[in-house]
């Protein structure tokens, strides 16, 4: 794979950054080599959105994707992972063409409000995604915090231990 990357030079890949800005907020940034108009379109048209939201490395597939992109409009995404399905849904709070999208994540009470801004400069677009959780605990629980991250880690460890046929003498 690396060899192929070297032999077929592609335009320089832009960097994705993620930072926990405050106790309640996670901020992700990325620059795209295209105008805001196009990047915005890729976030708001289901047929385009479906082409990038679920990369192969996620090990999931997108069963359905409904998006009614206007203030008060709803969205609904259904994912399949192995034998299970999960649904993500919410509504759009703000829709400003080519510059700003705000939506809720209502599949859980602790879901964040997501704000995505598109800022065009010299034909490129800086995308900033802010996920503001209702509380520190909610963001912690989403994965960064000790308790839930550990539960998940334990589940993985459990699987690993079983896989290794570990002789750790678990009672």
């Amino acid at each position: 794979m690396d060899a192929r990357r070297e032999s077929e030079p592609t335009p320089m890949k832009n960097r994705t950054t993620v930072e926990r800005k405050t106790e309640r907020e996670l901020v992700t940034t990325r620059t795209f080599n295209g105008p805001a108009r196009i990047v915005f379109e890729a976030w708001t048209k289901p047929e385009l959105f479906k082409r990038w939201w679920v990369p192969k490395s996620m090990g999931m597939s997108l069963l359905s994707c409904e998006m009614d992109v206007r203030v008060g409009g709803k969205y609904r995404l259904v994912f399949a992972h192995e034998a299970s399905e999960s649904t993500f849904f919410g509504s759009y709070l703000e829709v400003t063409p080519h510059s700003r999208l705000v939506w809720t994540n209502e599949e859980s009470d602790d879901g964040p409000v997501t704000t995505v801004t598109f800022e065009e400069k010299g034909g490129k677009t800086l995308l900033v995604m802010r996920e503001l959780y209702p509380s520190k605990e909610a963001l912690d629980a989403a994965g960064t915090g000790a308790a839930d991250a550990m539960v998940e880690t334990f589940a993985q460890l459990d699987e690993l231990l079983v896989a290794l046929g570990a002789s750790l003498g678990r009672s």
């Binding site: 890949k13 832009n14 994705t16 950054t17 993620v18 930072e19 926990r20 996670l26 992700t28 990325r30 795209f32 080599n33 295209g34 196009i38 990047v39 379109e41 890729a42 385009l48 082409r51 990038w52 939201w53 679920v54 990369p55 490395s57 996620m58 994965g143 960064t144 915090g145 000790a146 308790a147 839930d148 991250a149 550990m150 539960v151 880690t153 334990f154 460890l157 231990l161 570990a166 750790l168 003498g169 678990r170 009672s171």
Partner: protein, 121 residues
């Protein structure tokens, strides 16, 4: 370095292989607690809980501090590493998504060019 990592992994696996110790970590994830609190919560003797906490402390998962006659336990420095690890996993997910989005943006740009040429004809 390898030796060090291996030893740490052994400690972690050992520490995490016990249901009570996993419960203690979950409990401390919610709030700090004294060994007495923990012993009560998990219906064990003080000595039994001290042993469990000792194993967790050895693995760097818990740190303890004695104030007066009370020894308070809280999650250890690994907590920060857990957070960094989670954020990195999350970043990788978005990075993979955005790589795909790059392709969509590129395809749309090409399409606009072609359409633009058609319009000018």
């Amino acid at each position: 370095m390898v030796q060090y990592t291996q030893a740490r992994l052994d400690d972690s696996f050992g520490a995490l292989s016990d249901a009570t110790r996993r419960g203690v970590l979950e409990q401390l994830g919610r709030s700090d607690a004294s060994i007495t609190d923990l012993a009560d919560k998990f219906h064990m003797t003080l000595t039994g809980m001290q042993k469990h906490v000792g194993v967790l402390e050895q693995a760097g998962l818990v740190s303890t501090e004695k104030v007066g006659r009370v020894r308070t336990c809280k999650l250890g420095r690994r907590r920060l590493e857990e957070e960094a690890a989670w954020i990195e996993r999350y970043r990788q997910l978005w990075d993979a998504r955005f790589d795909e989005l790059d392709k969509v943006v590129e395809a749309l740009k090409q399409k606009e060019k072609v359409d633009g040429r058609k319009k000018r004809k």
